[in-house]
Symmetry: C2
């Protein structure tokens, strides 16, 4: 085991932050002192780590020179406010908020593009991409040698937990109200989320694209090192608590060899391929797991150059916290 | 108003059949005697039509020479059992089950392909396509002159009512059990449907395609009179009671003119285009309505030849019962 490293988790009381702390413990990450940070709202509360309660403190008052590595999981505004301060104090960081520009911090998915880590120096800055880009990268990377990718079409059905704790609470509340025939009063979502699909996650830009859709396109291209790959992306909010699902259609120049595709997926790291004829679901398979589940591997109804896939992954774990910890594991070996 | 016509509805106690009877009344369809038919299970019950209770009888014992027109909404097996008998008795039929082969009965969507009706003779046989093909045809037909369609990619998130009454009851039951922390015992669905997405609706064939996906491709090509249009289709079961939603990506040879597309959708029959920036939902917009709702009209993130749309429609009404009645309205004018 490497030398213990002093670490900070910013956003430690959030859905991602709590899972991240849990994964550091599960994977026996060489943690020395652990600093858990959040806003004034939850400062004073505590989180269990290795059977001890660790007190949560305000990020505002934190001295980043106390740690060598920080995980940022408290939203883009917090990353933008504190990343420079951490850097100046010699603290490396893994960002989960999507706030840092690509030229400043590469997006990394260990199953797809560890090569970008080679050029990094301490204090480094790296990003864990959005759960959508992470999940797609894990599955598409092992197919790049087999499928001459022309176009990727993705409809991502995201769990409400993608939007944090409040969104999870609101889906539960709305569902209970509807089943009890009580009037619905949406608060977090601006309309009925229970038993419904919302076609837009976040505010669209002038061209109608949401930030999540633009991130999916940009981050996936970067991680796959295919800067001009054509990608159509629609991100939808589904009435699911945890676990994102992806309907994916790939277009290739040639007929796709399904046997080779299945073999490559079977062999790849970070993937669980379900049996032909079956399919994985968020709730039944992906949630709580460290792999992306893949099923419904098939060509087009009568188009052999088309490859269709159904993916599902735990957005909080595989899509975020676990990926960030995996990236950190690779970096500390060489750098910290 | 035309002469009253004696009519039979087979499957009159089902979700589609009941709505169909309601629509016949709403639209003042020239109904003479109305015969409501189902299985022995609900024979003897009654359904309200024009303020009178109409007794439901067994289809088994029905004499089709008593009616000039029959709507078949009781599943493919029933259509296959009784269509020939009806035809022999001089009874025309509109089938909603998807059972009849294309060369025997054309698929018709009034907003898209009324031209196929011209060749029909009494007793005619026509089909109302699957709700997915119907919805897509309504929206794509007015775009065919504007967009040089190369490929259509569809992820259809279907309401559980697509599978009839039992499926609706099971989603409600599963949701209640989960919210009350009781153990889940799936019966109709083979796994948890509440707060989950099932990637497959029905049993797939040896190539992994479900019947609904193959019907979507086949029927949409037929209705749009584009027999070699490339279509990728994934039909998913969403935890939504009523209303199907469609994430659609169209590929064109040229840059798509969004202004023209919006104008064409605005002008088209059977479509409600929502304001830019907004989006329609199944529960909030489509359910109970006679139009397909369209939103999120946008090109690709950086691909002007791509056109993305989000559609939602009432699967039982616009996707099935209303379409069938609209087809019948056109046919009785000339033929009955
Ligand atoms: N949820 C996902 O699936 C997912 C996946 C990938 C990435 N992410 C990203 O990860 C980040 C956290 O998401 P989440 O889902 O965990 O959200 P969340 O459950 O709402 O948690 C937010 C966390 O940020 C903290 N925070 C909020 N405002 C703060 C402030 N002004 N100063 C310091 N801390 C503050 C909160 O602390 P308090 O308890 O004090 O409020 C809490 O710990 C976001 O950037 C999100 O985009 C989320
Ligand atoms: N639901 C949709 O969104 C939708 C849309 C388009 C097309 N369709 C098609 O429409 C048909 C009906 O669907 P649904 O959703 O209305 O199903 P449903 O709610 O389950 O109703 C089925 C109907 O068929 C009748 N039926 C069943 N077995 C019968 C038998 N052996 N003899 C005579 N009648 C029988 C039932 O009568 P009992 O009451 O006696 O059982 C009931 O009236 C199916 O072919 C379906 O694929 C459905």
């Amino acid at each position: 085991m490497s030398q213990p490293i002093d670490i900070a988790v910013i956003g430690a009381t959030g859905i991602v932050g709590e899972t991240l702390v849990q994964i550091l413990e599960e994977r026996d990450f060489p943690v020395g002192n652990l600093h858990l940070l959040a806003s004034s709202e939850s400062a004073g509360s505590s989180v269990l780590f290795r059977n001890k309660n660790v007190r949560v403190r305000e990020v505002d008052e934190f001295d980043f020179s106390k740690v060598k590595l920080a995980f940022f999981a408290a939203g883009p505004a917090i990353t933008l406010s504190y990343a420079a301060r951490a850097h100046a104090a010699g603290c490396s960081l893994v960002d989960l908020s999507g706030a840092l520009p690509a030229d400043q911090a590469p997006q990394v998915v260990p199953e797809a593009n560890t090569d970008v880590l080679a050029g990094l120096k301490v204090p480094f800055q790296v990003c864990s991409p959005s759960p959508s880009a992470t999940t797609l990268a894990v599955v598409l990377a092992p197919l790049l040698d087999l499928v001459d990718l022309q176009y990727v079409h993705v409809t991502a059905s995201l769990a409400v937990s993608a939007q944090g704790r409040e969104a999870v609470a609101e889906l539960a509340r709305q569902t209970t109200e509807l089943l009890n025939m009580r009037p619905l009063e949406p608060t977090f979502f601006d309309r009925q989320m229970a038993f419904n699909l919302l076609a837009q996650v976040g505010t669209p830009d002038a061209h109608g694209h949401t930030l999540l859709e633009k991130r999916l396109v940009r981050e996936l291209r970067q991680v796959l090192a295919k800067p001009s790959l054509k990608i159509s992306a629609t991100c939808v909010q589904a009435p699911v608590f945890f676990g994102d699902s992806f309907s994916v259609t790939l277009q290739s120049t040639n007929a796709v060899d399904l046997e080779q595709v299945n073999a490559a997926l079977e062999d790849a790291e970070g993937i669980e391929l379900v049996e032909a004829g079956d399919y994985p679901t968020a709730v039944g398979d992906a949630v709580g797991q460290d792999v992306v589940y893949v099923g419904r591997v098939r060509s087009g109804v009568d188009e052999p150059s088309e490859l269709n896939l159904w993916l599902t992954s735990d957005n909080v774990r595989k899509g975020a916290a676990l990926n960030a910890v995996q990236v950190a594991e690779l970096l500390i070996k060489d750098l910290l």
